[in-house]
């Protein structure tokens, strides 16, 4: 299948008509796009309905009049502080992403450019942590943060990311730094630059694409994280958006007013940052994911 068109001249035949096999392919792709896109479309449609339309039978495909004010009302539901959750999420995501990007590249610099005893073993251990299920470290980490008095704070969500970020991040940055010519470092050394300066002013600026990749992936993972906020946060004003949605879900109506259309609007709101970031940095993102598979 993969080779179907690779050995055939590109796209269109001499007459300028699309081939029948390509037409079929487009049909399949459109069908699949419908399959993957419909749930999001339905959520969007529900988020714009009136409460009456929510319970109408048969369920209408689209709202009669799109209720855009749902996206404003969403922020004023009693006991559901959506704005607060969004701010919390933004804070955690910011701290997690900066921590990961900064410390992972420093550690990667060490792995890529220095010779020392134990370096290769350390790198092997780093890769091995990718394979270990998080469940094993979850309980003792909880105990650790409990002893530190960090339960129901945001610290457990971002502080660990300032210690080298993730094994994946270190791996990604190391591969990238290894691909930069060593002559750059050496020329700068001869000119008397310190290692820190070489890292900061010469290598890091060249790492742009890798930093973008790591930043985007960390951002999306951190924004979507559910298990950690679930374990560490227990008062609603501390919630991040993902755990907040779970909380919101348990209140299908508040004070007799149905809230499900607002819940759907909150779901859309929660998906907007990740989808936007993906569109903006699609190239880097796709490259980064591909790297993890090909060089791993």
């Amino acid at each position: 299948m993969a080779q179907l068109s690779t050995s055939i001249p590109q796209q269109r035949d001499s007459g300028g008509k699309i081939r029948a096999s390509q037409l079929l392919l487009y049909l399949v792709l459109i069908l699949l796009a419908f399959l993957f896109g419909f749930p999001l479309f339905w959520t969007l449609s529900m988020s714009l309905k009136t409460p009456a339309e929510l319970f109408a039978f048969p369920p209408p495909l689209l709202p009669e009049v799109p209720q855009w004010q749902n996206y404003i009302n969403l922020f004023f539901v009693p006991r559901i502080p959506v704005a607060r959750w969004t701010l919390n999420s933004l804070f955690v995501v910011f701290m997690t992403t900066t921590g990961t990007v900064i410390t992972a590249s420093v550690v990667a610099y060490s792995f890529a450019r220095f010779q020392y005893r134990g370096r290769d073993i350390l790198f092997m251990i780093t890769l091995a942590t990718i394979m270990l299920p998080a469940q094993v470290t979850l309980i003792p980490q909880f105990v650790l943060f409990h002893k530190l008095g960090w339960i129901n704070t945001h610290y457990p969500l971002w502080v660990p990311h300032w210690f080298g970020g993730t094994a994946f991040g270190i791996f990604l940055m190391r591969q990238f730094i290894l691909s930069l010519p060593r002559e750059l470092d050496e020329a700068a050394l001869i000119d008397g630059a310190s290692h820190f300066r070489i890292f900061w002013s010469i290598l890091l600026p060249l790492c742009g694409p890798a930093l973008a990749t790591l930043g985007i992936i960390t951002l999306i993972d951190s924004w979507s994280d559910f298990v950690n906020p679930l374990i560490y946060l227990n008062s609603p004003e501390k919630f991040t958006i993902s755990i907040g949605l779970q909380f919101f879900k348990n209140y299908p109506d508040i004070g007799g007013e149905p809230t499900q259309h607002l819940l759907m609007a909150a779901c859309i709101l929660a998906a907007i940052p990740t989808i936007t970031i993906f569109f903006v940095g699609q190239r880097y993102f796709v490259q980064g994911i591909a790297t993890s598979g090909l060089k791993g």
Partner: protein, 325 residues
């Protein structure tokens, strides 16, 4: 290695920094200094490994032999937690069985499905990027939001899917997430749907794009058909990527949690009570940290066995360019 190392008087230098150089594996003072800097730059991660990985792994192993409720000290009880898991816990075997059921359906479907999608996208048609993005969207929606929206999509009476099925003439469409017998496969379907167009597909796509054209050209000259080219060129060339995706898919499936936790809370009647939910509930709902740790180690052992088995068996079917095979 490093340019700039000055030819210092070697005997004096080595006697001065002898033990330190040997410790860091360096020969000259310059190398010693550079090695120390290497440790310095790696320090955040070394600390991180000790604090957030090494320490917790040891602690968790110890906890698994204790009774521990966070408040108070762990009380050593030997193998009791493991005995309890294997013979005294009514939810242990069923939750493990459910997790395996999920894995057996999820892994092949997700792997083969993602590969098919990647192949479709690799046909170099116009607009492929748009389709790739659309396929990827489920992966960009936070798992909680996905679970919430599927609750409404699969709602038995007012949901659009059952409405559609009734239009098609299905009189009794399934209750999906709300039914005892249908909840497990519903959660499985949601996870497969969310995984198909995600990272696995992108990794396959990159793998397919890395297969040299010449190989296909050569196969065409030899008279190979479409299937034969796939079987004898594509598949061997992308086999390392298949292995990578397979290992990650199995790890992900044995840890399945969020969709089930949000959409069904493990119900109805424990129908979607997966192993990871069992661990979560024991540890963070009942605060049985010792027992939870024992369960986590059982899961880790299963995962490690799976991974090692795959790495071992992969020697037979994974083809690496430039040696091996």
């Amino acid at each position: 290695m490093e340019i700039g190392a000055k030819p210092l008087d070697s005997s004096r230098a080595s006697s001065r920094a002898g033990w330190l150089s040997r410790l860091v594996g360096a020969k000259t003072p310059y190398q010693t200094r550079s090695a120390l800097l290497g440790y310095l730059f790696a320090l955040p991660w070394i600390l991180g490994l000790v604090i957030f990985w090494g320490g917790p792994i040891l602690a968790s192993f110890y906890f698994s032999f204790t009774e521990y409720a966070v408040l108070g000290a762990p009380k050593f009880i030997g193998l009791d937690n493991y005995v309890q898991a294997f013979s005294g816990d009514d939810l242990f075997w069923p939750s493990l069985g459910r997790t395996f059921y999920f894995t057996i359906i999820f892994v092949p479907t997700a792997i083969i499905g993602s590969l098919v999608l990647a192949i479709l996208l690799n046909q170099k048609l116009k607009g492929t990027n748009i389709f790739r993005t659309i396929f990827f969207i489920p992966h960009l929606i936070p798992a909680v939001a996905l679970a919430v929206l599927w609750i409404y999509l699969l709602q038995p009476t007012l949901g659009p899917i059952n409405h559609f099925l009734r239009q098609l003439g299905v009189d009794n469409p399934p209750d999906w997430l709300a039914g005892r017998n249908s909840a497990l496969y519903s959660v499985t379907i949601i996870n497969v749907w969310a995984a198909l167009g995600g990272n696995t597909m992108l990794i396959f796509l990159a793998g397919l794009q890395g297969v040299p054209e010449e190989l296909y050209d050569a196969a065409t000259i030899d008279g190979a058909g479409v299937w034969s080219k796939f079987r004898h060129v594509t598949l061997p060339m992308i086999s390392p990527v298949v292995l990578f995706n397979l290992i990650l898919a199995i790890i992900a499936s044995l840890k399945v949690f969020t969709t089930a936790w949000v959409a069904t809370q493990g119900g109805p009647a424990y129908a979607t009570w997966f192993f990871a939910l069992h661990i979560y509930n024991q540890a963070f709902l009942y605060f049985r940290m010792g027992y939870g740790s024992a369960l986590a180690w059982i899961l880790a052992t299963i995962l490690i066995c799976f991974t090692l088995f795959q790495l071992w068996s992969s020697k037979r079917w994974v083809h690496y360019e430039g040696g091996g095979g």
